[in-house]
């Protein structure tokens, strides 16, 4: 018996080893052989080469990702939208592309991570999912301000302050956060106003669906005005557009273009449809990156609410 059992120690080791190997084959080796797990989708973020708008991808994106990893951001923020409704708010907005197909509005797929190393999928949501945060908060200035003092934008946030990071690192980190988008949606295709003299614009630059839109409200409707005033207060519009609603420029402490618009001037020079479009989609800087004006459609304002704001601005008179 002793002889038999002597062998058992060896056999036991081999047995345990083989059982582990079985697990390695099934759950590590087979997925590694599954080529469709690597095939990149157009939505996958990239870190080198040109982006969909034909621009060189900034090296800051990759640098920002390193900082994201170094500071352990992934312990509190996931980067995956699950296949269940619970995660709907974290999806990228549904966007019609030039070729008529629709991008966004779906859970993440394996191919969305093909260029990622490490994958940074995350396991905990102490804070919100960030896979598509670039769609929700497209302003770099907002991102940097939020990183420096999270409680300045959300009083109940429990995120640590990253004010101690040097400016170039904060800049790179913000650049990375903006790159967390559905990359099949080119920034230009978001159909946003590119900065220029906004008051001189004609309606021909508006996308068709906005051109055809009709304001359901009549000017001077008191309930619409009340709704708009409530929204303006809630969303803090005037912190950028000025308490007097005359916008801000260099003289009023806004450092560089694009400047928050003067609502009184916009009321006389732009159409309802134009205002509705800008409020809905936000605007871009001249280089195609998002300005401080976010897409209030993406941020949850309904059609009705956005029309109310449009009506309110149109009704402003000196």
């Amino acid at each position: 018996m002793g002889e038999k059992l002597e062998k058992n120690a060896v056999l036991l080791g081999i047995g345990a080893f083989l059982l582990l190997m079985f697990a390695v084959i099934v759950t590590v080796a087979v997925p590694l052989m599954q080529s469709d797990l690597y095939a990149s989708t157009p939505a996958a973020p990239r870190y080198t080469g040109l982006d969909n708008d034909g621009k060189e991808i900034s090296a800051k994106v990759a640098q920002g990702r390193e900082i994201y990893r170094r500071e352990g951001c992934f312990y509190c923020h996931t980067q995956q939208v699950r296949t269940i409704d619970n995660d709907n708010a974290f999806r990228a907005p549904a966007t019609k592309l030039a070729d008529g197909t629709t991008a966004g509005d779906r859970p993440t797929r394996p191919g969305d991570y093909s260029n990622d190393n490490p994958a940074l999928l995350g396991t905990e949501r102490t804070g919100p999912d960030l896979k598509y945060v670039g769609h929700r908060w497209p302003s770099k200035d907002w991102q940097i301000a939020h990183l420096k003092d999270p409680r300045s934008t959300e009083p109940n946030s429990i995120m640590p302050s990253f004010a101690h990071l040097p400016d170039n690192e904060l800049d790179a980190l913000a650049e990375y956060l903006l790159s967390l988008r559905d990359w099949s949606i080119p920034i230009k295709h978001l159909a946003k106003f590119m900065n220029g003299d906004i008051y001189a614009q004609k309606d021909d630059i508006i996308p068709d669906e906005y051109k055809a839109a009709q304001n359901p409200f009549k000017p001077g409707d008191a309930s619409v005005k009340a709704m708009a005033e409530q929204l303006i207060k809630e969303k803090g519009c005037l912190s950028c557009h000025g308490q007097d609603m005359h916008g801000k420029d260099a003289a009023k402490g806004w450092a560089a273009a694009p400047f928050p618009a003067d609502w009184y001037q916009a009321a006389t020079s732009n159409s309802d449809q134009f205002l509705y479009w800008v409020i809905s989609e936000g605007t871009l800087k001249q280089d195609g990156t998002p300005s401080g004006m976010p897409s209030w459609k993406s941020l949850g304002l309904t059609d009705e609410q956005r029309w109310a704001l449009t009506t309110y601005i149109k009704g402003l008179k000196e």
Binding site: A89, W137, A145, S157
Partner: protein, 223 residues
Amino acid sequence: MRTVKLLARSATVAGFLLVMAPRIASANHLSGGENDQMGLYGGIALVVGFAGLLGLLGLVPARLRAAGRRWGKWLLAAGVVILAGGGYHVARLGSVEQALGGDAYGRMATQQIFGTLAVFGLFSGVAYWLSKRTGVLDMGEKVKYIIMDNGDPAERTASRTDRPGEHRLMLIPFAAMGVLALSLTSGVLYVVLHLAANPSHVPGPDEHQYHNHGQMPMPAGTP
């Protein structure tokens, strides 16, 4: 020699698995709303099967021992049948639910179930065969006494004998486990059923709600 045979058999199992493991179609995301009835089937199968196992090993109270030996293997078999049948049932349900997707989901679901079952079956078979060959099962219970005389002195409490009624202490951990398990189950069930009764508002394609920090003031002075 035995090792060689073992390796050969393991290689066969691994090869079989590679054939069984679904490949391309399965990476698709076909999910949402699928059936968790398998948890129920699995739970019942485990309880029945484990009871059978204890019976077979004679690890039941004395008056149940004869019955345990007699019915043990049938209980074990019943567990396996519930597991296999339940798996098949759930897989069928899955295929119905996903039929509209036009994908090979149904086939894949049954394949997954049968693949898993085949693996379990093979494992138990190989493990049983090996233990027969090596005599592990015939070692009996002798080996457990070696630790009592290994020269490592036992704790002073080891020689203490129970006073009358002290066996009731066993109820404390038993109750703790029961209370915790029940609380967990009822907590999860409450949440699941509560959510089922109050389905969340599903926004249409045009009114996607994004999480909002309530307000979004630009910090004064920043460009």
